[in-house]
């Protein structure tokens, strides 16, 4: 993973503080990683965003 470890920790911490499921943080980081490597086309981007939003409990 080439994203700075501090950023990864902060995202994990925020998600946990907000009492969201741990796998939400995993999916966000997976999205960022794929974005970084330019691995997302429009279809995959929408699919991943929908999956992330679905996991958010407000």
């Amino acid at each position: 993973m080439s994203i700075d470890p501090v950023l990864i920790n902060k995202i994990n911490k925020k998600i946990s503080e907000e009492n969201q499921l741990e796998n939400l943080a995993d999916e966000i980081l997976d999205y960022l990683k794929k974005k970084d490597l330019d691995q997302l086309n429009t279809e995959e981007r929408i699919k991943l965003i929908e999956s992330i939003l679905l996991k958010i409990k407000i």
Binding site: S2, I3, D4, V6, L7, K10, I11, K13, K14, I15, E18, I28, Y31, L32, K35, D36, D38, R45, I46, I49, E50, I52, L53, I56, I58
Partner: protein
């Protein structure tokens, strides 16, 4: 992501016709390029930068790149760079036409051809930008300064890019696009569609204004950066002229102190006047009656909001409206909307404050003599103006015509710089108020307006659930981004200071913090607004090395005279730090940089290095041609340049007068 420069070539330009190959045995080792003064280091560095971002060349600038010697002048010329990203080769070329004073870009394509435009491979085009290039291709004498300047954000931008914090912004942009897409898919009809169109038009205006303000911010930062030296040097020059004569300096200091006292007295009298005229009870005119009548009028109308709200709230609870018609949900919603726009809580707050203030101040019984206050103000203003004039007169008497012209230039610069600073520090950061519209120059306000419009659009298109979740996630991501920036900046500060301590400098400066720019402190921890060129250069290099070490982006670092102004211990440490760098390193050096730096680097890295010497071929450099022949590197007879790839030649090469020029 690894990005290396492999080779560059200049033909028919101001700098000699060099073809410099950086890779050695297909490897890009740290490279030291010895280029004597006058060989075109600055020109080469600027062309290296411009070949990696799309630069708009002005005709004067194009002309500046033409060969200056009559016999060397050519109508056309070019600069070409060969690079490698993730093992893939690409070229970027700038073609100059000196007759028309124009230039154009050419770039290589994936299939081995060329296209007539500036273009970079995808892998780096999303990372590379002008700011990053300017940050990492550095002339230590002039490029490092902006990292330490107020209003400049180069250091912060570098952290965001190299630690990939910018990915968060790109994710948030994707979320925005997704939200808009979903909204558009949820087609509405009739009047709702019209409302959506109105809100969308407003959203477009807000987005355009945000873009405009961001461009203006960049322009302001650029202006402040470009005028900083002229402003500071001009001020220092004028000050030194005035302080040359100790008697005049004493007189000026004395006048300055008196002027400050007079300014303070004048401010006090103005404040006292404002406080007095607020007290309505002290008025004898009809104004007092008019103001108290105004407050009574507000009370009669049951204003502000608190009272007006009662009417609306009572209305929405009724079966029928005051006009007699039946109130359905639609009409009730309209009334609620109208109630909110009838008087905003901000406006109600202001009216309430005015009412309270008038009610309180009307009770003031004693009468104030406004005439007396007015004459006090006049007197204080007169004293202040007198001192201002005396300072002006004394200053004028000590300066020459040129200095007075300079003084005028500096005064105008000061005025414009203050305007730009006000724009950056205050106007763009003003909080949102309900009176703001899409022409606001505050980014805070525009973003707030954008959010309000998006909320309304989500309501109209019935996509509130998506809008709410996107807003929630955006907030979490922005908080994570902000906290990461703070923590990474702190860690980089600690790492920089560790390296600076290792350098064991005699008069060291340290990094206090890295917010938008790098803030400095001395050994005792006291803030330093700036350091000397040498001190800032050292800290700048350490900052860049630290950030590149931390990052997974392996981008070349090019330094022009990397150890200028450093003592031998610091040179050795710098060589050690550079030897540990994973990114490509290219250093432009002159003879005086070699001792305890390039030689020590050779010892540390054995053969994993590259020593190149480039010189302009002229009558007086014939001895170098002879030396090159001895090293089996004979020059091309017709070329105006020569490049030698040999460490021993690098060591023996010494241009007469260089040491002397350098020490100036």
């Amino acid at each position: 992501m690894k990005f290396n420069i492999i080779e560059w070539k200049s033909v028919g330009l101001r700098c000699p016709d060099f073809n410099i190959k950086i890779s050695k045995n297909d490897k890009t080792f740290p490279s030291f390029i010895q280029m004597p003064n006058g060989t075109g280091k600055t020109t080469t560095l600027s062309l290296l930068k411009r070949s990696l971002y799309n630069h708009e060349f002005k005709s004067k600038e194009v002309w500046d790149y033409s060969a200056k010697k009559k016999e060397e002048f050519k109508k056309e010329g070019y600069f070409q760079i060969k690079c490698e990203v993730e093992g893939k080769i690409f070229y970027s070329k700038i073609n100059f036409n000196f007759e028309n004073k124009t230039c154009s870009y050419e770039s290589s394509t994936d299939d081995g051809g060329w296209k007539s435009e500036f273009s970079l491979p995808n892998q780096i085009s999303r990372i590379i930008n002008r700011e990053i290039i300017e940050l990492l291709f550095v002339d230590l004498e002039k490029d490092i300064k902006p990292m330490f300047r107020e209003n400049q954000t180069g250091a912060q931008e570098a952290i965001k890019t190299f630690c990939k914090i910018n990915l968060i912004d790109r994710f948030i942009a994707d979320l925005d696009t997704y939200k808009t897409k979903k909204r558009k898919e949820n087609v509405q009809r009739g009047s709702t569609m019209n409302e959506i169109k109105t809100e969308e038009t407003r959203e477009t205006k807000i987005l355009n204004q945000i873009e405009k303000i961001n461009n203006k911010i960049e322009e302001s930062k650029k202006y402040l950066n470009e005028t900083e030296d002229q402003y500071k040097n001009g001020k220092d020059h004028l000050r030194s002229k005035l302080e040359k004569d100790s008697n005049i300096k004493k007189q000026l200091d004395d006048l300055q102190k008196k002027k400050e006292d007079a300014q303070s007295n004048y401010d006090k009298s103005l404040l006292s006047n404002f406080n007095t005229i607020k007290k309505i009870g002290t008025y004898e005119s009809d104004l007092k009656k008019e103001i108290t009548d105004f407050v009574s009028g507000l009370d009669d109308m049951q204003l502000p909001e608190a009272e007006a709200r009662v009417f609306f709230e009572a209305l929405i609870k009724r079966e029928n409206c005051v006009c007699g018609s039946h109130l359905d949900d639609n009409k009730r919603n309209n009334i609620i909307k109208e109630m909110e726009s009838f008087i905003s809580s901000d406006n109600a707050g202001i009216i309430s404050q005015i009412k309270n203030s008038i009610n309180q101040n009307s009770k003031e019984a004693s009468l104030n003599d406004l005439d007396k206050i007015s004459s006090e103000i006049q007197e204080n203003k007169h004293i202040l103006d007198t001192y201002i004039e005396e300072i002006k007169y004394l200053t004028k008497s000590q300066l020459t015509k040129e200095d007075l012209d300079l003084s005028e230039v500096i005064k105008n610069l000061e005025k414009k710089r203050k305007e730009e600073e006000l724009f950056l520090k205050v106007i763009t950061k003003k909080p949102y108020t309900s009176r703001d519209d899409e022409n606001s120059e505050s980014l805070v306000s525009l973003n707030e307006q954008k959010q309000k419009v998006e909320k309304e659009l989500a309501r109209l298109s019935k996509t509130q659930s998506i809008e709410e979740k996107v807003r929630y996630l955006t907030r979490i991501l922005e908080e994570a981004k902000r906290d990461s920036e703070i923590e990474i900046s702190n860690e980089i500060t600690i790492e920089c200071n560790k390296k600076l301590k290792e350098m064991a400098l005699s008069n060291p400066l340290f990094v206090n913090s890295i917010n938008e720019n790098i803030k400095l402190e001395n050994m005792e921890g006291v803030d330093q607004s700036e350091g000397s060129t040498g001190q800032e250069a050292r800290i700048g290099i350490i900052f860049l090395l630290t950030i590149l070490e931390r990052s997974s982006i392996k981008f070349p670092l090019i330094l022009d005279v990397p150890v200028k102004g450093m003592d031998f211990d610091a040179r050795l440490r710098t060589a050690q730090f550079i030897s540990k760098l994973d990114s490509q390193f290219i250093g432009f050096v002159i003879d005086s940089d070699k001792e305890n730096f390039t030689d020590k680097f050779k010892e540390i890295t054995n053969n994993s290095n590259n020593y190149i010497t480039c010189y302009r071929r002229e009558d007086e450099t014939k001895e170098f041609d002879d030396l090159a022949k001895n090293f089996n590197y004979p020059p091309h007879e017709n070329s105006n340049a020569h490049v030698v790839y040999d460490y021993e030649f690098f060591n023996k090469f010494k241009k007469e007068g260089e040491q002397k020029e350098e020490s100036k």
